[in-house]
Symmetry: C2
Subunit: 381 residues, 2 copies
């Protein structure tokens, strides 16, 4: 096992009706005012907004609002939020929604303590040292943003979808109530499942050292997400399936699975961000396209782990069957696995590869992921 | 899944030579003075004491010492420590050793903020609300005390081995360097393995609701501890085996595995504390005696999970074979599995059962674990 530091200070409040307590959790942290960040209106239609406001009022937490966060969240909206926080001297940010909302909340929280352009942190021009506290109430389980320090934001001027990662934006408290996730569309359920699997396999396959126990946890996550997704497709109201889905989504990217590993990276995400940035596909949909293609390209670089994956997940001895069965499962649950299925023209591959190579460069993996290599991978899609 | 709150603020610094940084970790937490708690001298023989002192000196951390902590740590020594902390106004406690040392450090940390008798917390006479910070450098992996809020202390006047559990004594930083654990005796390696398995199975078998993912994590822990123990018996210097052993020891009792479960309790520990209290057997040795006996007694109450255990761990279809094979494995690694093997006379069963029933009462499980039931269980040992 490699040396590592494990630290995750986020408190998870998991269970039915816990969104009613959000005001209490915020008050207990000695916060008196928040920026309430949310999406394009569903929380007003389904009554969650009302519950949140009532709770904030009950515990004497004052608030300003920033709505209109979209899937593939925009830097421009983050900057609007930073402005409000600074003007009104708000003490914390509360994100109510899915990964896009929470990632926006985190970027706002960091920008609130910075005099310069918050995008500086996304392009390694500045290092994050502080942020105001973040709280969340989750309405979608996929990104694990509720229990990590990651934030992925789309710069709408430059078409770059980049990220930051810092424990200072691990949420203080995250409310995870599976009931709030039950109304997710079948599409987004599928995209979420793919995202969770992506989080699980990135380091699992790319690490030069991947301890046995870590592999077992990853395999437990993948098996559980596959089983619960199939239950939820048939019965979206199955609480226990929704709850386990939500919990393994968190475990897939909260620091547990890479502990002790060495050398892993996130090439599927690196490539997918370009698909989202240029074609505005949902993150999980883009991953469904990239993952099988990337796996086919990468297999020969880590045959042992691909063999293990095929055996443990699909009881197949042949690793190429493992990749094939994963791709078939993505199709079965309704995620696209080809550029065509995702509405991306093949003549767009070069542009995508150039965009992805820039991110690869920022992540220090452009020696492997040259533009040509990324083209080669995408052509398998 | 049941509702739950998950919160574990401990930072784990895992890896080679990290004990050299303990002064830095303490200084980063704005602590200037500590009570250094340790055992009966091995850290002076093996050089670790010198490394710790050098690090404290390097970072300007002043300290007082409390040595002499024994396996099955004594309340009297804890009280000595509280006295020193209060007199010298020390700001934190640093435990360097195994579970007994760290549990003593935690009890001291709680007592330091309390005007009454710290034993009040162990008998539910008072509720813990605060403690001074705790830091650890681990020399043995078994209890997971490095990443939880538990402390088990033996009241030397009353022969009661009771516990507290509070997040306020989750260590701030725990250093886990597998190299510091390499010199553990074969006996203590075996006892540690049994303790880790005990932590894994208590809730796994006794919960009325045990989600699939949680069971998978438990099974991953058990399989990994069994494999690494066998490697370490042959080759105590195998770093990777030692490291995985240490990491799964932590995962077995840091709050992860019971998340979402309902109704579980710790009967094996409840009974074992009496064996330690009255006959001063090592905790893991006592568990080796209790576990097979308890499993035989409990099997019919949760046949599904016992069947699952036998299948997943031993690839056996018959659950009684699963219990038999676990007992055989305990014997194979050198842990006692009968009262005789642990040096406990059969005519002591009644006294043990009465002692254990008192703890069962404190834990609210004495409706099931009456004195007669505990006698019945121990007679199977």
């Amino acid at each position: 096992m490699n040396d590592f530091m494990y630290y995750n200070p986020t408190k998870i409040e998991f269970g039915r009706a816990k969104e009613n307590n959000i005001g209490k959790y915020i008050k207990e942290a000695n916060i008196k005012s928040v920026l309430l960040v949310y999406g394009t209106g569903s929380i007003k239609k389904n009554g969650l907004y009302k519950v949140i406001i009532e709770s904030l009022n009950k515990y004497g937490i004052s608030y300003e609002e920033l709505d209109g966060v979209v899937s593939n969240p925009l830097l421009s909206r983050v900057k609007d939020g930073i402005k409000i926080v600074k003007e009104k001297k708000l003490q914390a940010v509360l994100g109510v929604g899915g990964g896009s909302v929470v990632d926006s909340a985190k970027a706002i929280a960091v920008g609130a303590k910075y005099d310069g352009d918050v995008w500086d942190f996304f392009i390694n021009k500045a290092q994050i040292s502080e942020a105001i506290p973040v709280f969340t109430v989750m309405t979608l389980a996929a990104t694990a943003s509720e229990m990590n320090g990651n934030s992925v934001i789309m710069n709408d001027e430059t078409s770059q979808k980049y990220s930051i990662s810092s424990v200072v934006v691990n949420p203080v408290v995250s409310v995870v109530n599976p009931e709030l996730m039950a109304s997710v569309s079948k599409d987004y359920l599928a995209y979420s499942a793919v995202d969770i699997i992506a989080h699980s396999i990135e380091v699992y396959f790319t690490a030069t050292l991947h301890p046995n126990f870590s592999s077992r946890i990853v395999e437990s996550i993948i098996k559980t997400v596959m089983e619960t997704t199939e239950v939820l497709i048939k019965n979206p109201d199955d609480y226990d399936a929704r709850a386990e889905f939500a919990w393994v989504a968190i475990q897939a990217l909260n620091g547990l699975t890479p502990a002790g590993t060495e050398g892993g990276n996130f090439p599927n995400h690196m490539i997918e961000h370009s698909l989202s940035a240029i074609y505005n596909v949902a993150h999980g949909a883009g991953l469904g396209v990239v993952i099988p293609a990337w796996m086919k390209w990468y297999e020969s670089k880590n045959p042992t782990q691909f063999k293990r994956f095929a055996k443990e997940i699909f009881n197949e001895d042949d690793s190429s069957k493992g990749i094939k069965k994963l791709e078939e499962w993505f199709v079965k649950i309704g995620a696209p696995t080809t550029l065509e299925a995702a509405g991306i023209p093949r003549n767009g591959i070069q542009e995508l590869a150039i965009n992805a190579n820039e991110l690869a460069s920022l992540w220090g993996i452009d020696d492997i992921y040259t533009t040509n290599v990324i083209v080669e991978i995408l052509e398998k899609a």
